[in-house]
Symmetry: C2
């Protein structure tokens, strides 16, 4: 298995991006990523596009994205793993380089969710739970799904609505320093606590927004990476897993089995133990589609033991200076969550964190030189855990 | 790059499959592929699902397909490359094994196109041309696109409507011996020539049908393949390319640039010259979504020089015993074309051909031990060319 490095990265402003079409939006991120890598479109040997789609009438998004960016002719496909599609694209591009199929691969994630008629977008996402049973029969949409997790977690471990709102406060705090964030502004606990219920105990401010955005990374083999940059960020591992589409078949509603499996797989390949894992990382990006999801992520990633995740945020341990800073980008909650772009956005953010390139105030202290991303699709249908590091992976 | 072999393969009956749902249909192929490999679902380490979708309300097809087959928990994603999605899944699973991410990977392609209301299915496919320009403004659907190619080809090289119909006659002839084919019956030239025009010069019998079906392959690393089977079929190379979505930007309408690029890439890795390539292969499966497409494929694959493809079929050179037998499965034309399954169906067919496992009458003579598949997405938006062989790839 060849070593693979991130050598270029680009990220658009997230938010409502009605002024650009899908291909233009993707190109903003592609151009930045190629410039960062010192490459031109002709140098790219393999292209993977992640886009969930269904919002517009363009059924072959990868083709229009690649063509607009001057990448027509290249090996190309689209990948989809629901809200983890971006990580799936990263993994697919990683495999292309790791296998030797390509020396330089581009992964770009893009989504224009605001193209969908607003009243329908939650319905469209809801279909990604379990359509024919849970959605059609019981009307479950995503706030409802995560409300089930939140109530189970509160009942079992004694977390409160305030604890979940503390996640929102933290992520908005860091988003306020991230000009690419959809909501770059602070909120206080009261704002979150007094916001209207979407599905009890989940309130408006516990929920990630509907977002347009794109992110891109350029991956290179070790040999090529050395020529392109003095500061590669290495992919140490990508753990992947899937989960049942039926809530009734899940053993536990206080964590996501797929995320636990993906974390275990990622740590194994990276040579890390699976417990007490906060010690390994300077910073993490996790999938906070709802605030409860961030709390579960702390545990599914092994930062703390089961049932102790909410204490991390209650004690401020996931702020800079704490046990492990999480979602210094603002997270899905405040940076925004353009489905196909989110996983790649995490990789871009962590790369910049490791290289000390983010805005003052939200830059983590980097001394361990490693970071972890956690990206979930559906309600745990898919999970990807990616370990990045400044040092080259050992023992390959 | 590790060597990768096909060690299991399964294929459903193609046709109108209203009696099963998507997951059940996929499982028919998965079960057969796993049984052939002597494996159980638990042994599979990586799953890729190809499904274009849009026909039904189930938006996460990979999840339901994997779960029904007992593969929940595994690394999983869906890939899409329009009508070449199946080859994209094969390539993705190949990269997972070649890179060392997995030792055993399953690629399954499935499509239930008859779930779509019949009057809309051609419209839905038409969107996969170039939606916002060609489809919306000019109303081009796929028969129209390929009619442009057919007229250009006829004008430039002197092919006739009869020549195209000869492709249909050949493919129906071989389909008549393939119990998995949607239309397992012979037709004569007159039947095709007198069928109604869909888009001049393309007639009903020049066109592939709307199909439900699934196909699956199990891939394994060399070490694992040796333990599982005495008759692995090796993947020598997969060439991939994309093409412009705008017909107005194509230089030539008598061939598909993406297919030419993909063929060149595949031959280079396999160590084959790019010209006069029929000499290398015992049998080929090509993307005959319309009969003109098969003729262009002969040339894009380098079997003969440009402008001479129609002579191959006119002279019967793509029947068994000719220069190179093509589409002994019946092809998309008569076997059927369930978009996400087609590329994998080609791999299954060629594996069985190489292993002498197809029905009498449509079994190619195998003495070179190599075969080639050609799978196109859109109107040349995507192309994959796969070279398979009984001998292990050399020089890796």
């Amino acid at each position: 298995m060849r070593n693979v490095a991130i050598v270029g990265y680009g990220h658009t402003k997230f938010g409502v991006r009605n002024e650009v079409n899908l291909a233009e939006l993707a190109y903003e991120a592609i151009r930045e990523a190629l410039e960062k890598a010192g490459l031109e479109p002709k140098d790219v040997e393999h292209v993977v596009v992640s886009n969930v789609g269904g919002w517009s009438s363009e059924p072959l998004p990868a083709v229009v994205v690649a063509e607009y960016a001057g990448l027509s002719g290249k090996p190309l496909h689209r990948v989809e793993a629901a809200c983890a599609s971006g990580s799936s694209a990263l993994a697919s591009a990683y495999e292309a380089v790791a296998s030797g199929m390509a020396d330089i691969a581009l992964a770009v994630g893009v989504e224009k969710m605001n193209e969908s008629p607003t009243p329908n977008v939650v319905e469209l996402i809801g279909r990604a739970g379990n359509y024919f049973w849970e959605f059609q029969n019981f009307g479950l949409t995503f706030p409802g799904y995560y409300a089930l997790y939140a109530t189970a977690y509160m009942n079992k471990y004694g977390a409160t609505e305030e604890d979940f709102c503390r996640v929102a406060v933290k992520n908005h705090y860091y988003a306020s320093m991230n000009p690419k964030a959809q909501f770059p502004r602070k909120i206080d606990l009261e704002t979150c606590m007094s916001s209207r219920y979407i599905a009890w105990p989940i309130k408006l401010y516990d929920s990630s927004p509907i977002t347009d955005g794109a992110a891109a990374v350029v991956l290179a083999s070790e040999e090529v990476a050395k020529k392109l940059t003095d500061s590669p960020v290495w992919i140490h591992s990508i753990g992947m897993a899937s989960g049942t589409a039926n809530l009734s078949r899940r053993d536990d509603f206080t964590g996501l089995m797929a995320a636990q499996l993906a974390a275990r797989a990622a740590y194994k390949v990276a040579g890390l133990e699976a417990e007490n894992t906060a010690r390994y990382f300077d910073v993490a990006e996790v999938h906070d589609c709802f605030t409860i999801a961030e709390v579960m992520a702390y545990e599914d990633l092994g930062f703390v033991k089961r049932g102790e995740g909410y204490k991390l945020v209650r004690e401020g341990q996931t702020y800079i200076g704490g046990l492990i800073p999480v979602n210094l980008s603002g997270g899905l909650k405040a940076k925004g969550h353009p489905l196909g772009a989110t996983g790649i956005s995490m990789a871009v953010e962590l790369t910049k964190q490791l290289l000390h390139e983010v805005e003052p105030g939200r830059q983590a202290t980097i001394n361990k030189g490693m970071a972890v991303a956690h990206n979930v699709g559906g309600t745990g249908h898919y999970a990807y855990v990616t370990v990045l590091g400044l040092e080259k992976p050992r023992g390959r």
